[in-house]
Symmetry: C2
Subunit: 625 residues, 2 copies
Amino acid sequence: MGKLLDSIDSPQDLKVLSLEELNQLADEIRQLLIRFCRRHGGHLGSNLATIEPIIALHYVFDMPHDHLIFDVSHQAYTHKILTGRRRAYTDPEHHEDLSGFTSPKESPYDDFMLGHTGTSIGLACGMAAQRDATGGKANIIAFIGDGSLSSGPAFEGLNWAAEQGGNLIIVVNDNEMSIAENHGGLYKSLAALRASGGRSSDNPFRALGLDYRYVEKGNRIEDLIEAFRQVKDTDHPVVVHIHTRKGLGLGQGSQRQIGPTSITQSDGQTSHMTPLPDLPAEGPVEANHWQDGLDSLGRLPNSRKTYGRMAMQALEARFPQEPGLVVISPATPLSNGIDPDFRQRAGNHYRDVGIAESHAIAYAAGIAKAGGTPVVATSATFFQRAYDQIEQEMALNGSAVTLLVFSTGVAKTDATHSGAADMVMMRGIPGLTCLAPTSGTEFLDMLAWATGPARQPVVIRVPGERTLATERAGKPIATSDPTTGGEPWDHYRILQEGKTVALLALGDALPLGRDLADSLERSTGLKPTLVDPHRYDSLDEQTLDTLTGSHSLVVTIEDGQLDGGWGQAVAAYYGPSQVHTLAFGAAKEFNDRVPKTTLLERYGMTVPAMTRAISDALTDEASWI
Amino acid sequence: MGKLLDSIDSPQDLKVLSLEELNQLADEIRQLLIRFCRRHGGHLGSNLATIEPIIALHYVFDMPHDHLIFDVSHQAYTHKILTGRRRAYTDPEHHEDLSGFTSPKESPYDDFMLGHTGTSIGLACGMAAQRDATGGKANIIAFIGDGSLSSGPAFEGLNWAAEQGGNLIIVVNDNEMSIAENHGGLYKSLAALRASGGRSSDNPFRALGLDYRYVEKGNRIEDLIEAFRQVKDTDHPVVVHIHTRKGLGLGQGSQRQIGPTSITQSDGQTSHMTPLPDLPAEGPVEANHWQDGLDSLGRLPNSRKTYGRMAMQALEARFPQEPGLVVISPATPLSNGIDPDFRQRAGNHYRDVGIAESHAIAYAAGIAKAGGTPVVATSATFFQRAYDQIEQEMALNGSAVTLLVFSTGVAKTDATHSGAADMVMMRGIPGLTCLAPTSGTEFLDMLAWATGPARQPVVIRVPGERTLATERAGKPIATSDPTTGGEPWDHYRILQEGKTVALLALGDALPLGRDLADSLERSTGLKPTLVDPHRYDSLDEQTLDTLTGSHSLVVTIEDGQLDGGWGQAVAAYYGPSQVHTLAFGAAKEFNDRVPKTTLLERYGMTVPAMTRAISDALTDEASWI
């Protein structure tokens, strides 16, 4: 550890440092972040760009009296290090202590738990409004950039800021790139502003009625301190546009003097990749979006990447014959197996619209209306940003758009990135066919149907880790019957005929259902019926009616939130009948990086707990007769 | 009818007209729209501003080979009149034939069914992309304005358009005002562009990389024709900013020469109200948002206005003592009883953020974090535009924001404005307390709690027409017990103790439940238990358990979508037990202006149908024993 960093327990400790010491501190933090991300993983590139800006902000302003709100909050590592949380970065034993995002549970210096894009300005406007209503004096600062600025909510916030007036400082961290790439005309204007030292005429901030300042050397602490001092206690909203370098301090390229400290940096505005040859990663880290930790070395690709690549491969084969077949990704493509090589080969068959999910769906609906075949791929948690467009432009208009929903189910995630409620959200919208494939083969069959004969809105929940594990173990449960490959999957598939108890295990819960079936047979001698519903927007009432004859208990298992979900619909269907039901799924709650095994135990979704629950239910039934 | 209009059966018929005839046509349409809206109601002001632009567009372009996409599509009446649908405007017998919005079901000239804001540019980008992928030549035109431009999706679309390139024409209809008022810095820039004849430097369109043209006389057909001819077949995206007059042809004010036809218009950029003394309306029509029809004369205010006014009155009384108590409305305040007088008196206690629902929620979360008490009021259908912010900034962050959800339930609405699925959406999100008051008194008690001691995220579904009717008839069902006014409504209220059958009737379905209880007692002699659950995010398991003893059938009734709703959660709760359930609610489907009685019959939600269904269920039960 560097000596200086050891002495920083709060931002107060910064304020007595000389410029030379501040620069030394930045250097220490830079080395620390590289070490930390190498081992633990993290948003390395973006955080390397924000070390000096965050030091300067804490030097000039008085947090937490003043308020610093990080958009998305993935680039706040230096903020955490400076606000009493450095041990989580310095001590490998404590690497898991902190969220990768800001969290009021961790620190009074964090106002919000954030992980989605574009709301920092709106939140800051709100805090400023309340300050003004109560005669307060605090500076309110929104820190936004790294691709966030082009999202709709960010624009709505910028537009409102000018109207509201009063103290509000919007730091636009312009690192020349988004998580993957920047997209849109806004970024051309930012480039022109950079090229002109902030003087070019087409200024998107002034065009929204905002005051504006430019800092060319956005990683030079003295320039930042000067700029922030000038806007401190401003009586009106002002944008401070700072030009930083993503991945600063890493990789090859030219040497450039950034402030008093000489550091190596990647060069060239056209390069969106920073090679990190000595760090584990799948080839170059994509614009330093995410640096995998050492523990990922040698690990097989996860289900997102595996099935995502499979899907892209299947679609790519059709590109030459289908000019309108287009994959749309609102940023973060690599996480879903949409590799740079594929994107390169795909040409106009691939579009990254940036972090603009609402636009991604409207855009796809337009393509579909004109006869094209759009596939929109992103994480479950990000589709919720386009709820209105999924409901209106896609579902209501019957647009032939296919959604591939990645990163779903009960898992250890940041609370902001949960994939537990996507089925509840999607199935609540009329007009969507929602499919949950239970094998890679079926996934591809469904994708072929959705992008082929269907010509209707389809949602496909990409299979998860359980399915991948069974396939890797050579024990796949069910594959699509090739003869039914063109069908809309409106009939459940009965995998095992039994009696008394029927297990309906949806999507990635099917392997769990199979294990449960085996366990029940072992422990009770009873062979249950096992059903793969593979569709969750509607019920196969015919099969449900058939089950009534020989089953007294129907058990549903889904890898997602129980309340509002498909299992409750099954229960309601059987409500007036003699069939009893038992529904397994996740509680309706927020969880922040809780291990998956802990969650499954909490929800009673382990084989022993489910076996017990079913046995108890059967005992109760017997007692009523 | 004017002679010219009689001869226009398609846009082809326009193309042979002289300029003088086009102006005459505009005049005929203007008179027709005033007559039509006076009788039938409609978006009068905005449509009066778009007559000449739409005539010029159809004159210059070749729809439907070229494509004209109206944002929100509320200002497309002239488009409908020119595309073979004029009879619905000329013949009172056919006034109800058409949607107030564009609809592909009505005409090949309409590409989309739209009613929400900001997606026209994204849709147009998609159609243009597919055209370019397949070697097409059509002009793709997005027509946006009247307050839509400041919504996030519109910005995302503008930002993408520049990147995409190729033919795309974005007509910005700048009528100087939004549905109620314009808000945000963008509108200052538009004003500066108007004042400078399109030459002011802070140009938000150029700042997003778009080509730009300005038409000062946006209601002068020859100027429009010239401008549109210049951009026809453009090879790159271009914004045509046209300056029009909302409500042109109505009301007092100066006479101004607009093209060859002299028409009266309201004057003054500061006036956001156009008085319409000879038209029925509640005082002046609010920026001509909506003109009530003659049939509304003498009608009592609906439930939205009644309960909305009640809420505003209750909050206003607290303003002097509570500087942080703020009502936020993302446009359309008047529809929810947030009257101009109230807004005037409220000062900074009222904020209209424009059509920017995502921002409204983020803004409210910021106010709450800083200690304020924000109340966000809008229609059910518009809250879905802020799904992500409700889930992340409000619920996950535990922000003390109160949502007042207006215009809910099974009703005759445009498909784009349904209020049937709000409960399903809200209850799917963890961390929200969702309340459904069953009287005005309880509504105010809940509002007082939510904006007082609660300090947590609360959603209140404003009571609807059934509740209002019972209160007006002097037969209110349930009022809050004053002694429990401070409670979180986590216990169901038992209104009538009975046996065998328990009726749980949620919110505005309670009057229906009471009628059903009476009917059941009359027809079967059985006195059912009647329960007011008044909360729909969670279950009162204690009361549900109590019912088990003396009831074999629990019936749920909710005024909204069944699938994913509260009734299914009740069914799942009873799933493993001996209690049977029967759930009544709306189907998961889209309905476009289907009468409420038709819907209720279709859903079996009439007293006779429900009585029959319950009797049948009891008979089935008896047969199993």
